[in-house]
């Protein structure tokens, strides 16, 4: 009997992880439309950011941004706040950052106010934007 219980304890974490992995993909940024996201990019980001590799405007280029660490564009002078953040721009992290940049990286010099959830439709805009950014590779 005790062997059964200890076996259950041993396998419980594995079962939990397996169950989590089998859950439907329901993150807020999942399922975005990259074409719609291109418009969100144009309307909110393109004043400062290029989608092309190596092209610095006011901010760093966003080509390849999904999956890269913060402060990883060579030659771009990032803020100390961004340098200390040590984040990886996963879709989930980008979603939080774009929702409220100053909350995720206090002191960031990116003065974009964000696409906060308090405005209806912004969660979808972020999802679409991240879907577009994911194509920049």
């Amino acid at each position: 009997m005790s062997d059964v219980r200890s076996g259950a304890r041993r396998w419980l974490p594995v079962a939990v992880v397996a169950a989590l992995l089998s859950m439907p993909f329901t993150a807020a940024w999942a399922g975005g439309d990259p074409d719609a996201g291109k418009q969100v990019f144009k309307q909110n980001c393109s004043i400062c950011h290029s989608p092309l590799p190596g092209k610095v405007i006011v901010g760093p280029p966003l080509f390849g941004v999904v999956g890269r660490p913060t402060t990883s564009v060579p030659g771009y002078n990032y803020s100390p706040a961004n340098a200390a953040a040590h984040l990886i721009w996963t879709p989930a992290q980008l979603d939080k950052y774009i929702e409220n940049p100053q909350k995720i990286v206090p002191g960031t010099k990116m003065t974009f106010p964000g696409l906060p959830d308090s405005v209806p439709g912004n969660a979808e805009k972020r999802a679409n934007l991240i879907a577009f950014l994911s194509t920049l590779k």
Binding site: S46, I47, C48, S79, Q102, K109, T111, F112, P113
Partner: protein, 160 residues
């Protein structure tokens, strides 16, 4: 009853390069306000936010920068203490300044988009240029003023 001139707080000079840059920004945005929609109204919204912000910069953030050439020559004197209250004000207003920069960035982004929609590269270019100027404040102007304050306090041995 209007205040007498003697009652008005004296506005100190600012670096001439900054004064020139401010006048350029105001002049360019003002010129854009005369254009038809969507550029004209978008430029007016940006100007309505930027003009008072720059006026405040001229009163508070920029005068301490006139000390830079003397400090770079190693010249520090007690009559430079006038800058310390201004620098304290800059530090106290950092959060408010960030909020104003966010609002101006949003207005400039709208102007940029208006320029793109109207196929007006001059408008888009001016919007982008102004965004770069805002970044200059955050990267250079404000930290330099704060550094001047720290340096003065160290050299003058004052906690005032």
């Amino acid at each position: 009853m209007p205040a007498r001139a003697a009652d008005q707080p004296q506005q100190r000079p600012i670096p001439q390069s900054e004064a020139f840059e401010h006048d350029e920004v105001i002049g360019k945005l003002t010129r854009l306000t005369a254009k038809p929609a969507p550029v004209g109204p978008a430029a007016q919204k940006a100007l309505d936010l930027i003009q008072p912000h720059l006026a405040h910069d001229r009163e508070v953030s920029l005068p301490p920068l006139t000390l830079l050439p003397l400090l770079a020559e190693g010249k520090v004197s007690p009559d430079m203490k006038w800058a310390l209250p201004l620098i304290d004000q800059i530090k106290a207003e950092q959060d408010q300044n960030t909020k104003e920069h966010q609002a101006m960035t949003a207005a400039l982004t709208a102007l940029f988009n208006a320029g793109e929609d109207a196929n007006d590269p001059e408008a888009s270019g001016i919007a982008r240029e102004c965004t770069g100027d805002l970044l200059n404040d955050d990267e250079v102007g404000e930290p330099t003023a704060i550094l001047i304050g720290e340096y003065l306090r160290t050299k003058l041995g004052t906690n005032q």
